[in-house]
């Protein structure tokens, strides 16, 4: 038992050590991210002292970019399921070795979500009121309490799955199915639940007709399963570029078909919503009117939402056409889809819910500089976390850091950067994850 603990800590030590080592590109990337994170911390420190007054929010528009980003990133986290389902349900071989990258992305995304919610709190010092058992948890009444449970549960599930599989690989033993397969299947359902619950957070508000629509949940899932795998497609290509980890084009094209179908569904659901609002033209159309065309002379979101729609439509056409079998076009489509959905699911969903106010008042919202810096800091933090996870896990998956070479120096990994020569450390076939 003591030996096992010791072994485990030694494993963590080696992981931690390699996180600080890489070639100049790695240092530059991490250095830039660290600077942005520090700017974000600085902006948050100001907000902590002076209150949320330093943001652009008001009593009329009481949620802004923090919650908008939170909503978008919950979708990114949920998208890990889109890698897990083909592999574990349809036995897809191409994606098999890549699942873990999706799960690690989910971990980083949930960490970002928690950060975005925390910076939105007026009293972060009272966070413990939210801890079940210690605080006073309004469960099952409040959708926010459900969100606390599903987000943290999803985080734990993914940390367990990734951590267990990586440690087994490190030790060179075959993972015991009972230790992770049930969790993998649980995580699939859980992934859908985190985004459904986040949608219900909005849907459950009868006083906000823009959100109080049953299509919001399905649209959340469709857009998440578009943007999430699109991010994974790009991330995998970066991994392939900066390391010698083998990622086949076929795997990327499998993800393409997922993004393709999800985007079609996403646009179809958007069309349903637009039809219902503008064909019937009840008084509830006010928020949609504000979003798409402007209302009573206020139209801050109009250019944004049309950009989003344009991006989504162009992305959809590229994805449907065979041209997107070429990675160049696929990448363009992915970037357009990610940006389009980020606008539409973030600001395009959160802000119009508040405009006009329940008493018909028109007050617009623009994020402040300070608020934007906090957001950039959290994005940088998420990217930093994901980079660290990849930096630690890839050498383990490749068999370069294993229990067997514990006694040896890891310098051969460090000195040559990540693209070390393959002759000394051949790529280990990855079959048992």
């Amino acid at each position: 038992m003591i030996q096992a603990t010791k072994n485990y800590f030694h494993f963590l030590w080696r992981c931690g050590r390699i996180a600080f080592v890489g070639d100049w590109r790695y240092y530059a990337w991490m250095g830039i991210l660290s600077v942005v994170i520090l700017l974000g911390i600085n902006a948050y420190a100001k907000q902590f002292v002076h209150g949320l007054m330093v943001t652009g929010m008001s009593d009329q528009v009481s949620w802004g970019v923090y919650i908008a980003n939170f909503t978008f990133i919950v979708g990114v986290a949920a998208a890990a399921a889109m890698l897990v389902i083909p592999v574990y349900i349809y036995d897809n071989k191409e994606l098999h070795d890549l699942v873990i990258f999706g799960e690690l992305l989910a971990v980083a995304a949930i960490l970002m979500c928690l950060a975005f919610v925390t910076v939105d709190l007026g009293r972060p010092d009272r966070f413990w009121h939210l801890i079940p058992g210690i605080g006073k948890f309004n469960f099952p009444g409040s959708m926010l309490s459900w969100d606390v449970i599903v987000l943290n549960g999803y985080l734990l599930l993914n940390v367990h799955i990734c951590g267990y599989l990586l440690y087994c690989r490190y030790q060179g033993r075959t993972p015991s199915k009972w230790f992770y397969i049930p969790f993998v299947f649980l995580a699939i359902g859980w992934a859908i639940s985190i985004h459904t619950v986040t949608a219900f957070l909005y849907v459950g508000l009868g006083g906000r007709p823009f959100w109080n629509a049953s299509i919001v949940g399905p649209r959340f899932l469709a857009s998440a399963f578009t943007a999430g795998p699109a991010i994974i497609i790009l991330a995998l290509q970066v991994i392939r570029h900066v390391t010698d980890y083998r990622i086949s084009d076929k795997a990327l094209l499998t993800l393409r078909s997922i993004v393709q179908v999800s985007m079609l569904i996403n646009v179809f659901l958007l069309f349903n919503e637009v039809f219902k609002e503008f064909y019937t033209r009840t008084s509830h159309v006010a928020a949609s009117n504000y979003l798409y065309f402007g209302l009573h002379g206020f139209h801050a979101l109009v250019p944004w939402i049309w950009t989003a729609i344009l991006f989504n439509l162009v992305a959809m056409f590229i994805l449907v056409l065979p041209m997107s079998k070429s990675l160049k076009y696929l990448n363009v489509a992915c970037v357009l889809a990610i940006v389009g959905i980020w606008i539409e699911k973030g600001m395009g969903l959160v802000v119009p819910g508040f405009i006009p106010s329940p008493l018909g008042e028109m007050v617009e919202y623009t994020p402040s500089l300070n608020e934007t810096l906090v957001c950039l800091g959290i994005w940088a933090f998420g990217l930093l976390a994901y980079t660290l996870f990849l930096r630690m896990s890839i050498p383990i998956l490749q068999g370069r850091i294993t229990k067997r070479n514990e006694g040896e120096s890891d310098d051969h990994l460090f000195a040559a950067g990540q693209k070390s020569d393959q002759t000394t450390t051949p790529h280990v076939a990855t079959t048992h994850i």
């Binding site: 030694h10 030590w13 080696r14 050590r17 600080f20 080592v21 240092y27 660290s34 520090l38 700017l39 911390i41 600085n42 420190a45 902590f48 002292v49 002076h50 209150g51 949320l52 007054m53 009593d59 009329q60 009481s62 949620w63 939105d120 709190l121 007026g122 009293r123 972060p124 010092d125 009272r126 966070f127 009121h129 939210l130 605080g135 006073k136 948890f137 309004n138 409040s142 959708m143 926010l144 309490s145 606390v148 957070l201 508000l205 009868g206 006083g207 008084s283 006010a286 819910g353 508040f354 006009p356 106010s357 329940p358 008493l359 018909g360 120096s409 890891d410 310098d411 460090f414 000195a415």
Partner: protein, 321 residues
């Protein structure tokens, strides 16, 4: 052997660590990176030096209102008294007023009489120790054109030299004290709840400031303290209650509580007392002899705002018909 190596940063890159010790250069480089990292972090945290209003350990550990024993509550009231005295140089009387048995409060507002003078708005601010800069107001008066009840047509910021103006009627909106309050349902930490007399209250010491209730409220009744509230010392109302008008802190919600410190002591709310038109009526609906019971029996048309939402407000608009 690696386990006792102190190389944990980039300083190890390329350097051998098989000889059991670190060399001077890598030590210097490691500590240089570490020191500049700590310095950068410290610099980024510099704004925290302006923090004046720390959360005391006493307040950090304070339990939820409903879990406070009588002794606990006395200590809390004492703490609040000390805090107010320190900040505003005035000794307040802070009490924890409880709901009275057999009482359910109801508000009736006569739209035929309201002249839109906004005296209620300002009396409320003065009574309830609301922040003056930025000013927080619980009552919003809408100037509405004759013949429509569409609030989108209402003017929130009218500044007419004299009221009432021809062709308009005026509709004050404040917390509707719903029987099915959406704000209570959504609060993740039960910091807001409905009391036995129908008043929805907030424990300002428990609220985490997530503003979910503000998003849920269909009446724009809730207000957030976006920054530290500021009240001139000579404007403090020293008669305070825990769930009512005691000064709030930065980052928490507040709203109309039917002047709990007055109404639970048998007085009328401040907005009613100041109304020059007699448009506001308040009382115990369970008492058949109360004014509100009389109005509910004898007036014909009542409006509960957004009745279709199922919130069932205890705030009734009526007309002289």
């Amino acid at each position: 052997m690696t386990s006792n190596s102190p190389c944990s940063s980039g300083g190890c890159a390329g350097g051998g660590n098989g000889n059991g010790g670190m060399n001077r250069r890598s030590f210097l480089r490691t500590s240089g990176v570490l020191a500049s990292g700590i310095a950068a972090l410290a610099a980024s945290l510099a704004p925290l030096r302006d923090l004046t209003d720390y959360t005391s350990a006493e307040q950090f550990m304070q339990k939820h209102y409903k879990e406070l024993s009588k002794d606990d509550m006395e200590k809390v009231l004492d703490r609040i008294t000390r805090e107010v005295e320190k900040q505003y140089s005035i000794r307040p009387h802070v009490k924890d007023y409880k709901p009275m048995d057999g009482v359910e409060f109801v508000y009736c507002l006569n739209l035929t009489r309201c002249i839109g003078c906004r005296k209620c708005v300002h009396a409320c601010v003065a009574e309830n120790n609301q922040s003056r800069d930025p000013e927080i107001q619980y009552i919003r008066v809408l100037k509405m054109p004759h013949g429509s009840f569409d609030m989108e047509k209402g003017d929130h910021n009218y500044a007419s030299p004299t009221v009432p103006e021809k062709g308009f009627f005026y509709m004050p909106v404040q917390c509707q004290q719903c029987k099915n309050p959406p704000c209570v349902k959504v609060c993740p930490v039960k910091a807001t709840w409905q009391e036995a007399d129908g008043i929805t209250v907030i424990d300002y010491d428990w609220c985490i400031g997530c503003r979910y209730c503000e998003a849920a409220c269909p009446y724009f009744a809730r207000r957030f303290n976006w920054t530290k509230p500021s009240i001139p010392k000579d404007r403090i109302n020293p008669e305070m209650s825990y769930l009512g008008n005691r000064p709030r802190k930065q980052g928490v919600m507040e709203k109309c509580h039917f002047c709990i410190q007055r109404t639970r002591a048998g007085k009328y709310p401040a907005c009613l007392e100041v109304c020059p038109a007699g448009a506001r009526k308040f009382g115990n609906i369970l008492d058949p002899n109360s004014e509100v019971s009389y109005i509910m029996r004898n007036k014909k048309v009542f409006v509960q705002l957004k009745e279709e939402l199922g919130t069932s407000p205890r705030f009734f608009y009526y007309f002289d018909v």
